[in-house]
């Protein structure tokens, strides 16, 4: 039986780690990849010095270093699982967990896992450097320091170590140092000896005194009343306090207390045979509760994961991948898309030259992002959209704003590089490239863009930049987006005119999406003039549908295509596809049949048959609120 425990328990723990790692990889790979893009670690003195001006700076610096490895999600997850494995070994050692009680050590990794997988939109809003790794490293370092304390042979040495950690741990680890001190002073059994009581008092005194003294003497940039929260993630954004995200951290603290219980009860001895069942039962019960907790805190938001996956696909210029992700059914509960998803899908279609034929073939919607605060498109997808639509000034602006507010990241440095290249701001592009060359995993990227510095002719041949350049060739003007990315893009494009076909089509598509008839006609006219002489030219479906609809809506209005004719007369001259005319007829007939329905009822009734038409979009898609 004893041998069985010796083998079965470690095996179970290892298997649990493997399963946890695989689960994270399976569902969060895209998120982890994005996570490292939204982080930055540089091997420079300046970067280190910038980190350590706050308590816990060394820990966050280390955490930022480890975050880089999510560039290969499997590598980052493997490293994290190894750390969690080490944590379990140290927990067993520190708390003298024996027999089945060793399963209790899994509670801490489960809590750490919940800290990681609950992230959701905090991915974009978390200000703590290296936040994904901070809990793991904070726990690991605390256990290492506490284990060294246990290994020291003499009480006076232990006390010296306690004082050293109690004083120096705060600048190194921030609030996590409380855990290290607590692990050193927590009694191993219920009857505390006098010397242990002294250590407890000493440890508590250090915890109480060190932060305010350090803040008063060394940290001029820290608020005294938040000194005990240094290096802890803040789940407050603006005036919104998201307490629920703190649950895994409370669970983490609780799991340490639970790990301490067996030793307190059994005084370091192997549980007696008759107690084995109880220890198995209790351990497995607590683990089941832990698993349930992880499941409850796991962010299963389909749209969030799709947004991230689509974003990553665009970084790879995998436009088909964007569209594939938009339609994927295997990423959780189906739900209407967010505006970011719709915008990214439209961008992909535009880059593939299929916007006019396919824009309404995909789910439409304006689902709010599932977060306790107002998620802005400027933080989620906006910079990417501005960049690809040639609004380089606005892309750069939001990179700078986000870099300042949420910390510099590989992502903003890359976009600042690319926008600076397009606007020929060579020197500052070089500055960002030089910084990216120092990173562990983005040197290759930097080298690629290094070749474009002061070489606009190469940019014109670049797969990514070539289509953007004509979009950026418009007269400069002073403007503002009020953080409303979609609205700004729609308004500026739909009111714009351009001689370049690529740009021009965007003005037409945006006029169509704006449902603005006055803006649509001149751009449709220009579109026809630009393309009608091309061999095999056919007006894309949705431009036809819009023209057909607008002509029939205002039949007596003078045509903008054929001066002297009305829309009704001009309608006969445009070679509309039969399918366009027929679908319109069917739409109107169905509308007559559904005459008594409310608009909400019609929206549902029309969807299966007409959901992919412009007519449906025009009449039944309203209040697509953007953010």
């Amino acid at each position: 039986m004893k041998t069985l425990h010796k083998i079965a328990v470690p095996l179970l723990l290892v298997m649990a780690l493997v399963v946890m790692g695989l689960l994270i990889l399976r569902t969060e790979s895209d998120v982890l990849l994005r996570l490292q893009e939204l982080s930055l670690w540089l091997p420079t003195r300046h970067f280190f010095q910038t980190s350590v001006i706050y308590p816990g700076g060394v820990l966050t610096w280390m955490a930022a270093f480890m975050t880089q490895f999510f560039f290969h999600p499997w590598l980052g997850v493997t490293l994290m699982m190894l750390c969690w494995g080490l944590i379990m070994v140290l927990l067993c050692y520190h708390f003298h967990l024996r027999g089945p009680w060793r399963l209790m050590a899994l509670l801490v990794p489960l809590a750490l896992m919940a800290c990681l997988v609950q992230m959701g939109y905090w991915l974009y809003y978390m200000k703590l450097q290296g936040h994904a790794w901070v809990p793991t490293l904070g726990v690991l370092l605390s256990l290492v320091l506490a284990s060294v304390h246990m290994l020291l042979p003499r009480p006076w040495l232990k006390r010296c170590w306690l004082v050293a950690v109690g004083v120096l741990g705060y600048p190194l680890m921030g609030a996590w140092w409380v855990l290290a001190v607590a692990l050193m002073i927590v009694p191993r059994h219920l009857r505390m000896q006098k010397s242990e009581a002294i250590d407890v008092a000493l440890g508590l005194a250090l915890v109480m005194v060190v932060p305010p003294v350090m803040v008063q003497q060394f940290y001029g940039q820290v608020q005294a009343d938040t000194a005990w929260l240094a290096a802890m993630p803040s789940f407050q954004y603006g005036k919104t306090d998201c307490n629920i995200y703190r649950l895994p951290y409370y669970a983490l603290a609780l799991s340490f207390l639970l790990c301490a219980l067996p030793a307190l009860i059994y005084r370091n001895s192997e549980p007696a045979y008759k107690e084995l069942r109880l220890s198995w039962f209790l351990s497995l019960l607590l683990i089941a509760l832990g698993v349930f907790g992880v499941h409850k805190r796991w962010n299963h938001d389909t749209n969030f994961h799709k947004e991230v996956a689509m974003n990553n696909a665009i970084e790879r210029l995998d436009w088909e991948g964007v569209l594939h992700t938009m339609l994927r059914q295997d990423m959780g509960k189906p739900m209407p898309p967010t505006r970011v998803m719709v915008m990214l899908k439209n961008l992909a279609l535009f880059r593939l030259g299929r916007l006019g034929n396919e824009m309404f073939l995909y789910p439409e919607g304006a689902e709010q992002q599932h977060a306790e605060w107002q998620v802005r498109m400027t933080q989620v997808g906006g910079k990417l959209l501005y960049y690809h639509y040639g609004k380089e000034g606005f892309c750069y602006r939001w990179c700078m704003e986000d870099g300042v507010e949420f910390g510099w990241s590989v992502d903003v440095l890359k976009y600042m590089t690319k926008t600076s290249l397009i606007t020929h701001d060579w020197d500052v592009a070089q500055k960002y490239i030089d910084l990216l060359k120092k990173t562990l995993f983005h040197k290759e990227w930097a080298e690629k863009y290094q070749a474009l510095v002061r070489h606009p002719e190469l940019m014109a041949k670049d797969e990514e930049m070539a289509p953007i350049l004509p979009m950026a060739e418009f007269p400069d003007r002073l403007d503002g987006d009020n953080t409303l990315v979609e609205l700004y893009l729609l308004k500026t494009f739909s009111s714009g005119f351009g001689a370049e076909p690529y740009y021009q089509e965007m003005t037409l598509a945006c006029a169509l999406i704006m449902k603005d008839i006055d803006l649509f006609w001149p751009r449709f006219h220009q579109y026809l003039n630009m393309h009608q002489h091309e061999e095999g030219f056919r007006v894309p479906r949705y431009y036809q549908e819009a023209a057909y609809l607008y002509s029939t809506l205002e039949p007596q209005r003078p045509s903008q295509l054929w001066p002297g004719l009305t829309n009704a007369q001009a309608l006969e001259k445009i070679p509309f596809d039969d399918s366009v005319k027929q679908s319109y007829q069917r739409f109107m007939e169905f509308n007559t049949q559904c005459g008594s329905m409310s608009e909400d009822q019609k929206r549902v009734a029309f969807q299966p048959q007409f959901g992919d038409t412009f007519y449906y979009f025009y009449f039944l898609r309203r209040n697509q609120k953007t953010n």
């Binding site: 540089l42 420079t44 003195r45 300046h46 970067f47 200000k127 803040v215 008063q216 001029g220 940039q221 820290v222 608020q223 938040t226 803040s234 407050q236 954004y237 603006g238 005036k239 609004k391 380089e392 000034g393 606005f394 750069y396 602006r397 700078m400 704003e401 986000d402 870099g403 300042v404 507010e405 510099w408 606007t423 020929h424 701001d425 020197d427 500052v428 070089q430 500055k431 030089d434 910084l435 950026a472 418009f474 007269p475 400069d476 003007r477 002073l478 403007d479 503002g480 987006d481 500026t492």
Partner: protein
């Protein structure tokens, strides 16, 4: 014998020792010998007439005798580098791409120059590439016996537009690299209540008499005067805002301010990125002792800004633009109108006499009508001897830090003649500037390095209207400014360090503010 080669290509010989301990000793000995080995200049090399590429570019600059060592990075392709400094017949050799003379070496260089001899340090850079050494064209660092004020202060801020996170006002000793915090906003900021800080200013370079503003959380103006620190709320119903751009009166406990309603809009494409405009701005005077605000005239079509006192305190200089709404319909706001016509907003320089006894200002006088020349002049700063007026000029607007055509101009107030300070200017932005207390040095902001991040530059002034080639603020590590993703804002000279601790300022910020009264 064991022989290794140091990075200059010279053999270093060390005796061979037997046994494990011997090998350890050998390794330690070799390490120390290599570490202590003086680099040597190559004996054979090719001459290049090409100026060496270094960062920061300290070629042929003039530095004060009490400046911290100039460090630089050699931006040449190569595998080994040796730099030879020569002064007063002595030479110092440094190896490596990063050239960082120690304070001791730097002090030796500056003291090696004979008082009557050439006041310069010659610098030769040798570069080894493909096994061959080349000596790049030597350059000089000229040393002026005119000392510079020992301290400067500045705000460190990312060149962002709306957001901010951690902002600091810092002070830096120019005689070494020591930098310390004067005040940091994070000591009083949290997620709910952010805090912006700006516009630090001193009375006559005195670090015990300063002011800076705190915006949003615990908003107000912090005024420290000879040890007393208070927070003042200067917003009254008679001004468009609290005090913004300050100017301490040189002798009286008075501070002139502009009051501004400021907005910004963004270039869609232009690299100048943002246009900051005042739609309303006036001047006011603040009486430090009596906490009284005295607005000057308030003309909504006249935009007064950036006050500065003459050294005798009898004149208040400032810039002002006349702007009337072009579109007189009610459909547009003045803000929108100004955005559309932003290139037509131009500032000229004015002054008004001041009688400290009566606290009365005289009528305004034109100093320089830049707008008449279709130019915009801002930030008037008078030299301590009262003769020279240094200002920033661009084609339009008030916030020249975002205008790439902005340059520094110098006017002789005795003759009224003026010219561009060509030695100071670059193709990029030159903007905020201030004179040292002896009038021999100016420090100014420039974005010449990369067009986006402001760095402080210092130049010598001969008192006759001529500047020397400016040098970038020296740093302990020469690539520091390349990595820094923040700008220096409002570099100001000080006679010494601010001794009030950041925590004391933080405490003062949290105290109740004193409400200023309008007169």
């Amino acid at each position: 014998m064991t022989s290794i080669t140091n990075n200059v290509g010279n053999a270093v010989h060390a005796p061979s020792l037997g046994g494990g301990r011997g090998r350890l000793l050998l390794a330690i000995s070799v390490f120390f010998m290599v570490a202590c080995q003086q680099p040597k200049a190559p004996r054979q090399y090719a001459e290049s007439q090409r100026p060496v590429a270094i960062f920061p570019d300290y070629r042929d600059v003039t530095v004060p005798v009490n400046i911290a060592p100039l460090t630089f990075n050699i931006d040449e392709e190569g595998t080994n580098f040796v730099t030879r400094f020569t002064a007063g017949g002595r030479e110092w050799l440094l190896a490596g791409r990063e050239v960082c003379p120690s304070p001791k070496q730097w002090s030796q260089m500056l003291s090696a120059m004979s008082p009557n001899g050439q006041q310069k340090v010659m610098v030769e850079v040798f570069v080894e590439a493909a096994g061959k050494w080349t000596r790049m064209a030597p350059f000089a660092i000229h040393v002026s016996p005119d000392t510079i004020d020992p301290y400067i202060s500045y705000r460190i801020i990312a060149p962002s537009y709306v957001t901010y996170e951690d902002l600091t006002i810092r002070q830096r000793c120019l005689e070494n690299y020591d930098e310390s915090l004067i005040y940091g906003n994070m000591s009083n900021s949290d997620e709910r209540d952010g805090q912006c800080i700006n516009c630090h200013s001193y009375q006559q370079y005195n670090p015990q008499r300063l002011q800076f503003h705190v915006r949003q959380g615990h908003g107000g103006t912090i005024i420290a005067y000879d040890g007393k620190v208070e927070r003042v709320d200067m917003k009254t119903g008679k001004t468009v805002s609290a005090g913004v751009y300050p100017a301490w009166h040189p002798t009286e406990k008075l501070i002139a301010y502009s009051t501004n309603k400021t907005g910004q809009s963004f270039h869609t494409h232009d690299n100048q990125k943002v246009e900051v405009q005042d739609t309303y701005s006036d001047l006011m005077l603040y009486d430090v002792d009596n906490h009284r605000v005295m607005p000057l005239e308030a003309d909504t079509n006249q935009l007064d800004c950036f006050p500065f006192w003459s050294p005798d305190g009898r004149w208040l200089y400032y810039c002002s633009a006349h702007y009337e709404k072009r579109d007189t319909s009610q459909a547009t706001t003045k803000e929108f109108d100004m955005i559309v016509n932003y290139k037509e907003v131009r500032y000229s320089l004015y002054r008004r006499s001041f009688q400290p006894q009566t606290m009365q200002f005289g009528p305004r006088e034109v100093v320089y009508d830049a707008a008449a020349d279709s130019l915009s002049a801002t930030l008037p700063r008078i030299s301590p001897d009262g003769r020279w007026l240094l200002f920033t000029q661009g084609s339009h607007g008030v916030f020249h830090i975002w205008h790439r055509d902005a340059d520094l101009w110098l006017m002789d107030l005795q003759t009224g003649e003026m010219h561009a300070a060509a030695e100071l200017n670059s193709d990029d932005v030159e903007s905020y500037h201030s004179w040292s207390s002896n009038g021999r040095w100016v420090i100014f902001s420039s974005r010449r390095t990369d067009g986006n991040f402001t760095r402080p530059y210092i130049a010598h002034f001969d008192g006759k209207g001529h500047f020397t080639r400016p040098f970038e603020l020296p740093q302990r590590h020469p690539n520091y400014h390349r990595e820094l993703l923040r700008s220096y804002n409002i570099p100001e000279f000080m006679l010494g360090p601010v001794t009030i601790r950041p925590q004391q300022f933080a405490h003062a910020v949290r105290q109740d503010s004193i409400k200023a009264q309008a007169r």
